[in-house]
Symmetry: C2
Subunit: 355 residues, 2 copies
DNA sequence: CTGTTAGCGCCTTCAG
DNA sequence: CTGAAGGCGCTAACAG
């Protein structure tokens, strides 16, 4: 590895001079400047970022933590992040938690240990003690993405998850559904799932309906377990006519499971998701969902992060606009039911009850 | 930021002692060990990776370059990479080229400037001069992913793109198709696309057919341009009955465009892709394609990289197994054509000809 | 067993 | 305009 000293030797000057031309210091004669540049080219020299960073305390690197990179919604936000960071000359260090809460703080520790100048976080639970402590104590600027902060003074970019799911559930109700279930991955793995559930409950109550059930299913588990879980939900007396899923990937799996169980979507069962990933448009029937602007959210989060970094803005929660996207998976209920649907509402049919 | 000196002060010892206990050196008394650990906990101290790396020349970081993180095939390989790297205690710095050749070498430069201990590359063109030079001259271990190296001594993990497309084209031919077209993103943006095209040509020639055409379409461009490009290909006299696409994302867009043009897939036009992304299974009709084990390829690439790093293996090309995945998008040709299809074969109908 | 010391590669006053 | 020198945080001999 060639160092700044090698360049200085070849250019016949001191390393400080090399440093100056490399960093565009104005006080250098054109002649030596040329020689230095020539030496750099000859030797194929590249500054060692570590040495520089150690001195300047600037790593020009951002840390990113997301649950998974194969979930298109996070891939999109990552794309937005990467683009916005690169535009400013920053690299990103990417870590994933795979929805495992215990990996969150480990990842955050590793990131800050690397001296990243800012951090973008999608954690499983922003209310978790260690996470809160970090958010409060750290001096490295930090913005939550998709998470909704539990205390003031924490920056975040998200949609209004509660309101969005309320909108979605209202739509299902408007379409004549009365027995509507909510299904999510492990609540412990996603504050979004919990908040969205609240929105669902609010809509049900508003319509004078009892929330049917909220069931956690093994989102990242094996197909066979997943199928069993869905089966337990829908193969009951007075089954739900619509299922709201905490995210699109889950919804797509549910549709697949329903089909395996011999149910037609949406004829026998309506299904809706949340996120608005592209795949939803391509499948048949297309997936009804809530769209959130994932790439723009990533970009916005970086913008906010840089504003935080240079002190031009205080931590705040930026709410992005969401939008209901209609789709064939959520259709009008062909009601052979009695008018007063409340009589059908009941305690959880199966599985643990939430709330 | 608290440093090792702060810890030493608080523990009442020298920084070297702190360093020793932190790095698990055996020669430390249990007593001081305790004191140090306590001080670390009290102060919430974390080693500064930069200082350590500067000394040890070990960054425990890998560099990754992929075209895009929103293409599921690269997202999957990235997931495999991240997992395998983390298992070994390595972080990854992720850069994307967005299929722009000029961004490849810039990214590689930035990566090595950060002192990454190894690099995983999916470049637009491994034959490009600057890339070749880097591959040949660099002392940082490096493995290509998806790319097929153009010279010996370069490590790579890929499938046999030529052979795979040959298999795919054979399948189309077996299904009765004679007028088969090949469509890809910009050849300049993907050596895979070019090599796959060769496989297509080989299959056609083997069957005594003339390659119909190979057309580059604006893969990352606007919908309207894309539609026009597809329209120009299929709205001709004696249109192709099957279209082989250089990747799945492209194939899915083609199906969408065909539909917009009023064509039914596969009744009017069969379409096949390459990659085997999950979405392909979920759309209707399901996408016929060549599956490559993206996540495993990422993992394998990291394994190979580490073997390179510790010198236990020499650069080599690892060919992973591919598999034809049947799908509704590629159906038997309902031939009202004359038996000798060669009479229909012709020079490119439209667009620039390749090869 | 523990402290002292010499850098790793680079930037940045401070003199000259 | 340029060189010399100190030090960023840490590790690794080398003494003691």
């Amino acid at each position: 590895m060639t160092t700044i000293q090698d360049v200085a030797d070849r250019a016949g000057c001191a390393i400080s001079t090399v440093s100056r031309v490399l960093n565009g210091s104005p006080h250098t004669s054109e002649a030596t400047r040329e020689r230095v540049l020539q030496a750099v080219a000859d030797l194929g020299y590249r500054v060692n970022t570590l040495g520089r960073s150690l001195k300047t305390k600037q790593t020009r690197a951002l840390g990113v933590l997301i649950p998974s990179v194969t979930n298109p919604v996070f891939a999109s936000s990552l794309a937005g992040i990467e683009e916005a960071a690169r535009k400013r000359g920053f690299d990103i260090i990417v870590t994933t938690s795979n929805y495992a809460p215990e990996r969150d703080s480990a990842a955050i520790g590793a990131l800050s240990s690397r001296g990243v100048e800012g951090v973008l976080l999608t954690v499983t639970d922003p209310a978790e003690a260690e996470i809160r402590a970090f958010l409060r104590d750290t001096e490295v600027p930090c913005v939550l993405l998709y998470n909704q902060p539990v205390e003031k003074g924490v920056a975040a970019v998200t949609v209004d998850n509660r309101r969005a799911t309320l909108d979605l559930a209202r739509e299902a109700i408007r379409l004549g559904h009365r027995r509507i279930g909510y299904i999510s991955g492990a609540f412990g793995s996603s504050d979004r799932a919990r908040i969205r559930y609240e929105g669902y409950c609010a809509a049900m109550e508003e319509a004078g309906l009892e929330p049917l059930f909220a069931r956690e299913v093994p989102f990242v588990g094996r197909d066979i377990d997943f199928l069993a879980a869905v089966s337990a939900l829908v193969e009951v007396k007075d089954p739900p006519t619509a299922l709201l899923c905490s995210n699109d990937l889950l919804a797509i799996r549910v549709i697949g499971a329903a089909r395996t169980l011999g149910l037609s979507v949406p004829d026998d069962l309506s299904v809706a998701g949340f996120d608005g990933i592209d795949i939803g448009r391509m499948i048949a029937p297309s997936l009804a969902t809530i769209e959130q602007p994932a790439t723009a959210m990533g970009r916005t989060a970086v913008d906010l992060l840089f504003a935080l970094m240079n002190g031009s803005r205080d931590p705040e929660t930026v709410l992005m606009a969401h939008r209901f996207r209609p789709g064939g998976s959520l259709a009008a209920h062909r009601g052979e039911d009695q008018p007063d649907a409340r009589r059908d509402a009941r305690a959880p049919i199966n599985g643990k009850q939430n709330r």
